[in-house]
Symmetry: C2
Subunit: 174 residues, 2 copies
């Protein structure tokens, strides 16, 4: 069901997506879908979160720099091509569709910040990040840059950006 929802959003956009189409594409009944999710937004958000956690899980190697670098390289990889086009379309949709927008912000954007915040907080308990460090701002800078590149397209979303953001984040929490 989640894979079917992802494919349909990619092909037709979120606006034209229906629970019925997801059911047809997944080869299940509408009732089956409604047993687990109540709106198409919920299905799409769960698909997004699952994909994001698979592509870029929060690593835990014991080294802040290694964890952040891996997380950001994978996040950047996951934001390229079709995934990236889908994310951008959903971010645009979130500005017009209030209901979807609320879910997208709370259940996707906030989740991704949580993943990186956890990495930084683990590093803080190990003493790698100062108690006074402004973790929230550093996390925001990272995702802000990824989105600005995806939406603004003035420079590529690539490994170089991932590494620049890793360095920037270490400066900001250092």
């Amino acid at each position: 069901v989640l894979a079917a929802a992802g494919r349909l959003v990619e092909e037709d956009g979120y606006g034209r997506l229906t629970i019925e189409a997801i059911a047809r594409q997944a080869g299940v009944s509408k009732q089956t879908i409604y047993r687990w999710w109540s709106t198409k937004a919920e299905v799409v958000l769960e698909a997004l979160n699952e994909a994001a956690s698979t592509i870029a899980p929060a690593a835990d190697s014991g080294s802040l720099e290694a964890d952040v670098r891996l997380f950001l390289r994978r996040t950047v990889e996951g934001g390229k091509g079709r995934n990236g086009r889908m994310l951008v379309a959903l971010m645009a949709e979130a500005q017009f569709d209030e209901v979807f927008g609320r879910s997208f912000r709370r259940e996707f954007l906030a989740n991704r910040r949580n993943m990186l915040r956890n990495v930084l907080e683990r590093a803080r308990t190990r003493g790698e990040v100062a108690q006074s460090a402004h973790i929230e701002l550093a996390v925001e800078v990272v995702f802000a840059m990824l989105w600005y590149r995806m939406l603004g397209r003035h420079a590529p979303l690539d490994r170089r950006l991932a590494d620049e953001l890793t360095d920037t984040l270490l400066i900001l929490v250092g």
Copy 2:
């Protein structure tokens, strides 16, 4: 004409805007508009740039910190309320409409980065910014954060953000 275009985008959105409606609202003929602009995108972008330069001109007080703080406080003020909603709608539109998107990126997003880059480059000639400083990245961080707040709405676009971004920028070019 520019004010008329701004009002119409605010009221009906960019998608429904026509040169004819701009002419009617401004009380001029379509021919007059076509003498100066060839598409509605050009009119809207010129209106946006004019508004942005009026609200947040690049200050030149001789102090980097003062110039950046003023520029960012004004930029944040200018991105609130109706202006902010219009900017967000245009950023979303830029993701769906390729022609408008190209103009929006080249003639608005890039212009705003240029304004701040100039402030930093003037500071570099005065010796306030290191020759090796990564100015481009610092400029990108600032606008990325403003856009991420406007689109993500997880925290307010306020003077506190402007001041945090001023400090962040000084750290990044310091």
